[in-house]
């Protein structure tokens, strides 16, 4: 399973990259896209939306099923990846390049508390 060590993760298969400006970039893991199969539709949130941790924020749909993507922490959506909504297959091609949205966390400590790569691997193996 491809789980880059420089990212943070959630039990619900989101990956999180902490940027220099304190925002976070969020996508779904390679394992998640593999479970879903070919993605055909992505519904992104509005920029400026305020979300609670673990709130449904994005819907991704593959040919076979729909799945929710959850906000890894509480905060505000600052940017969404429009091109990925037009080409959902880019998530299948490279899940760690095809980010879904960026957000400004309400509390930086929440990000530190997310899983590391080893923690995600253990969680995904459960």
């Amino acid at each position: 399973m491809n789980v880059p060590a420089n990212l943070k993760y959630t039990k619900t298969h989101e990956w999180v990259r902490v940027e220099a400006d304190g925002t976070i970039t969020v996508g779904i893991t390679e394992h998640a896209q593999d479970l879903l199969g070919d993605l055909v539709f992505i519904d992104l949130p509005d920029v400026g939306k305020e979300v609670a941790a673990e709130q449904e924020i994005v819907v991704v749909e593959s040919v076979k099923a729909a799945a929710d993507v959850y906000a890894p922490v509480a905060g505000t959506v600052t940017e969404v990846n429009g091109p990925v909504a037009d080409a959902p297959e880019s998530v299948n091609q490279d899940a760690y390049a095809a980010w879904l949205f960026k957000m400004k966390p309400a509390n930086v400590a929440d990000v530190d508390a997310l899983l590391d790569a080893a923690g995600y691997l253990a969680s995904a193996a459960e």
């Binding site: 199969g37 539709f41 519904d43 749909e61 040919v63």
Partner: protein, 359 residues
């Protein structure tokens, strides 16, 4: 316990993602469901359909048995090899299963039934046989494997691999079959494309699968099988109809012969209860994906999607739906998806045929 077809190892070697389907361990896809879908529409693909059950119906009363057993009229079968699609109904007119019956000769028919319903179907047939006291043997053929080869180049690839079948199958019209040695070659399918469904001894299946792969035929999983059949507007048992649904409400009226004087199981129920709904296609106009069980709001009342997916050929979501009488092709309806009401157009339930969009 999960059952395996004789090709199970071949699927695993090819890197298939396996899933449980009606009690069978089957390939969902071999990498990309969408690429597999396109392979069938544009070139050729092969499906392991050995989980489906071939059932031989043999004996002097075989025709009499089938005339009563199924809703379509076996008397339409006059030419050797001809195939007939039909529903098998219960007394209340619900669909026990849908099947294809092949006419081999007066004392020999072959039925192919769905995988998940095979045991139920066999018990049903045995019970009717005992009740009607006919001279018929119903023989499940678990010694056989089935491989469907579909796509514009499917037949050419089959002839390349099995040249002996060419002469007999070249002039085969759609929905016919012919036996060539060990191979039962049928011009039937579940994709809306040209091609064959091949039935053969299980012991020969792996060699044929490999030879077809070597000839360039792509293995196709159940995922693409579903999107292909949905684009072709073909029903899936358990999803578009089941024992609680009348064939008249499932788009299968064309397969039910109520005109002939013969009696069959479920006929009285169908005559007493004409169609209550119509079975039509939906094309989603907004962005999103239609799925089974989503509610459809129409000017005539509420309907429900029975099968929905993203159509790789149309690059748009499509569905089959049971809608109130009075809804017309061309109407715009609203589908409830999560918290949104999305617009969809009502269309005839056949979206793609022979690689071409019909809508």
């Amino acid at each position: 316990m999960t059952q395996k077809t004789v090709l199970n190892e071949a699927h695993r070697r090819a890197g298939a993602k396996m899933v449980d389907f009606g009690g069978w361990d089957m390939p969902l896809h071999y990498g990309s469901q969408i690429e597999e879908h396109h392979a069938v529409r544009r070139d050729s693909g092969m499906f392991d359909v050995s989980h489906m059950c071939a059932v031989d119906v043999a004996g002097s009363d075989a025709r009499a048995f089938l005339l009563r057993l199924i809703a379509n009229n076996v008397d339409k079968l006059r030419l050797p090899g001809k195939a007939l699609y039909s529903a098998m109904l219960n007394e209340s007119g619900g669909v026990v299963d849908d099947l294809i019956v092949y006419y081999i000769d007066e004392a020999q028919y072959r039925i192919v039934v769905n995988a998940g319903t095979a045991e139920k179907d066999l018990a049903w047939m045995a019970a009717r046989l005992a009740e009607w006291k006919l001279e018929v043997a119903v023989i499940p053929r678990r010694d056989l494997a089935m491989i469907a080869v579909q796509g514009p180049n499917a037949k050419a690839r089959v002839w390349q691999v099995l040249p002996a079948t060419r002469a007999a199958s070249e002039a085969l019209k759609p929905f016919f079959s012919v036996a060539v040695g060990d191979y039962f070659v049928a011009s039937t399918g579940y994709t809306g494309e040209d091609g064959f469904e091949l039935t053969l001894p299980a012991s020969k299946a792996e060699a044929l699968w490999q030879a077809l792969a070597d000839a360039g035929v792509k293995p196709i999983g159940l995922g693409a099988r579903d999107t292909l059949r949905l684009e072709a507007g073909m029903n899936l048992y358990g999803q578009d109809m089941d024992e609680t649904v009348s064939p008249l409400d499932a788009g299968l009226a064309w397969t039910v012969d109520l005109a002939a004087p013969r009696d069959f199981v479920g006929k009285a129920a169908l005559l007493a209860r004409p169609a209550q709904k119509q079975f039509l296609g939906l094309l989603l106009l907004d962005r999103g994906v239609l799925r089974a069980h989503q509610k459809v709001a129409t000017a005539q009342g509420e309907g429900e999607i029975t099968s929905g997916t993203f159509s790789p050929t149309l690059q748009q979501s499509v569905a089959l739906a049971r809608l109130p009488l009075g809804v017309a092709v061309g109407d715009t309806v609203k589908v409830e998806i999560r918290d949104k009401q999305l617009a969809a157009r009502v269309v005839k339930p056949c979206f793609v045929r022979n690689g071409k969009a019909l809508i």
